[in-house]
Symmetry: C2
Subunit: 444 residues, 2 copies
């Protein structure tokens, strides 16, 4: 892709309305454009990143056996009246009247709708467990939208729901998502820590927030540092292995401020291991038993002939929010250098040829390199403008391909000036460059 053909409207200066670095970068690199308060359009660069994140989230849902569906954005108020949340939800719910004057709403979450789908079709314990997810736009009418797509009104989210016959089976489902989320965030090159959390408006009695560290985060967290050394390697999707995984994490104190207890923190964590900092919530899992299935009458036949309400959990990942969260974690604001993890980078590599009207040889060389890249499934963006070197580097550092190639006027045999974004230039042969990029792509 040539930069001049792409729709990437880069801004030279930091827009004054952008207070945190993800908002700044997304506006400057032309990833998003605000259309009204807290509502954004995703331009090609931002869209590409979000789609790649969505695909990783999807693959990790499928991997634990969750089935994908798609619920609509507009819901009837009736099911919310059944669950009792229609009045409770407050003003964050965008309430709508259609032309027939029926009360509708733009779904802020989908517990009611998915319970309605479940109760219409599933009648027997034999069909359990059922794990369903969808990835859809949601709306919460924030009183004061801010921080770009981090606290906006229309946002893109994966939400999953589990239906089980007993608490024990439901915990098994819960733990599958616990594993799935650790895997998902790892593939996004994030260290997300599961923290005991309040259940809030979803309700229920067991809940973890997955939080990444960031100074700009809105969640205050209190944790034992050693939790950052844990990972899910080797965990199997089996009850025992999943229990062990959760126990391994829960051994360490890690809570958000709603659950914080000073005495407990100081008792459980020695001083050198205490970490009090801020973080960004990127995922949230809940177990709430029959909170929705009971008022909505979602029951199944049990083996003995009796009926019981199904036990449910819900599991969310903020797909659009992750774009911002990853920028908060990865963007070097001082030097204005972004380097996307290759798994979600909009382009694998930026090619920066130095061009002037008289001499197009560097552009030709860029085109030849790109031909080899295409044969190797490496996606490049070529800066085909005739701007000066420093201006080109500035733009490409905002676009954030993990690798950069510079083609100057003097070409040194078959060696190419190649760098990992933000690091030193190396002179390498094209085949070595391809090998390095492909190796990184395979690992991620």
């Amino acid at each position: 892709m040539y930069l001049t053909k792409s729709f990437i409207p880069i801004l030279k200066n930091i827009p004054s309305e952008a207070k945190i670095k993800s908002h700044q970068l997304m506006l400057r690199a032309g990833m998003i454009k605000q259309s009204s308060a807290g509502i954004y359009s995703w331009l090609p660069l931002g869209f590409k990143v979000m789609k790649k994140i969505e695909q990783i989230v999807r693959e990790e849902q499928n991997r634990i056996g969750v089935q994908e569906i798609l619920m609509p954005t507009i819901q009837s108020s009736e099911i919310w009246k059944e669950s009792g949340r229609y009045e409770d939800y407050g003003e964050e719910m965008l309430r709508i009247k259609d032309r027939q004057n029926r009360e509708m709403l733009y779904g802020p979450t989908n517990e009611e709708l998915v319970t309605d789908i479940f109760r219409a079709s599933v009648k027997s314990y034999k069909s359990l467990p059922q794990l369903l997810y969808h990835i859809q736009w949601k709306f919460r009418d924030e009183i004061r939208p801010r921080f770009g797509i981090m606290r906006c009104r229309e946002f893109y989210m994966k939400d999953a729901y589990s239906f089980d016959i007993s608490d024990e089976e439901a915990f098994f489902s819960y733990n599958k998502f616990f594993l799935s989320y650790l895997r998902t965030f790892k593939r996004l090159d994030l260290t997300a820590i599961p923290m005991a959390a309040d259940t809030g408006p979803i309700g229920g009695n067991l809940s973890h927030e997955f939080i990444i560290l960031a100074d700009t985060g809105e969640s205050k967290i209190f944790t034992d540092k050693r939790i950052f050394d844990l990972n899910s390697d080797g965990t199997k999707v089996e009850k025992k292995s999943l229990d062990e995984l959760r126990n391994k994490y829960e051994k360490f104190y890690a809570v958000t401020d709603e659950k914080f207890n000073k005495e407990e923190f100081e008792k459980k964590v020695t001083e050198e291991n205490r970490l009090i900092t801020k973080g960004i919530e990127v995922g949230h899992i809940f177990y709430f038993g029959d909170k929705y299935s009971k008022p909505m009458g979602a029951s199944v036949d049990l083996p003995g002939g009796k009926k019981d309400f199904v036990k449910m959990g819900s599991y969310g990942v903020g797909v659009s929010r992750l774009v911002g969260a990853i920028i908060e974690a990865k963007y070097d604001e001082k030097n204005e250098i972004m380097k996307w993890p290759i798994s979600i980078a909009p382009y694998d590599v930026s090619i920066i040829p130095m061009i002037n009207k008289k001499d197009q040889s560097a552009l030709e060389k860029a085109n030849n390199i790109n031909k080899e890249f295409l044969l190797n499934n490496i996606e490049a963006i070529i800066d085909d403008t005739d701007e000066n070197f420093s201006s080109k580097m500035k733009k490409m550092n905002l676009i954030g391909s993990p690798f950069q190639i510079i083609i100057g006027k003097q070409i040194d045999g078959d060696l190419i000036e190649f760098k990992e974004t933000g690091k030193e230039i190396k002179k390498l042969k094209l085949e070595e460059v391809i090998k390095i990029i492909k190796k990184q792509k395979v690992q991620n």
Copy 2:
């Protein structure tokens, strides 16, 4: 995938509310579930088909160089007041007030929003043409939603927009979409005919509807039969080649009823070539010049120093509607047999083993076949219930995999009972079966 693990709630009988065959099949095969009037959830089977259609639409947009963005569903009324359509649009527009009492709406189409994005970034003719598309949920508050997802309220659509410096360049963009649509529908195994059409509420002076024949269609069409023999093979994305393509089609009379003129029809089409029938609109392309760019002030600098408003077109494909349209074209309602084109089939093949509690050998054989399929990227659904043969066949004929394998109690050496759905059984070796399925997949 095992049928018992899947969320495919199959209905034995035709629901009385379903008047056309796509609506009937989609409810019976558990592809969708209505959540409120004209609003549907997509269950796994329907979702898989829609996603595959979406991907083909996307690939064919990318192929002619359109860039993907994503605009939000909720729009501010302000830009619609600028274009003058806020009052005109009528009650089909879902109007919303947010908690701050601002006038918002759920986008029924996106000319205003994309013009706003364009004018904020593009200032010079040098950046033209710009071709942008998105695939997003839209809402039209139909007074009487009916026919399932064919005339519903919340629907999924690809809409693209072109921005050019002159009429001539704009026609070039228009013709690219003309070609792209012929290619898209061909990959969906549909014969869609471009027909001169009225421009309706979008406005403008040049427009084609792409229509497939179906008795249940809502568009009345008048056409020269010979247009069905045409195709876009060999057309290049170049001005001359695209002009020739459009001329080739426009030589034949083909209009919807708004444009119908009896005298002209009878003059231009000899009696034996006249076809008066019904069809379903699956795509619509418009050219409308500066209808939006002028009131909204979307102008660019011209080479000589002057400014002019950009010339725009818009190009829609009903992604969710296509699921229904393809069923209308392919479903054998009398015998209750659906056969999806393999390019968008939810599964490539259904495996139907005859199982009873004492004898699981057919299921084992099914599992072994499936292992080979997985190695060959063939996706199968296995009916692992212990129902009888006729009941299993009925379900699988509704699910509509293009191929079926039957594993009876007597197994005939290494020969497998294999059939194209709706056709005769053949006895073949597994390697031959794999070859046949793979060959069809490659062709599509």
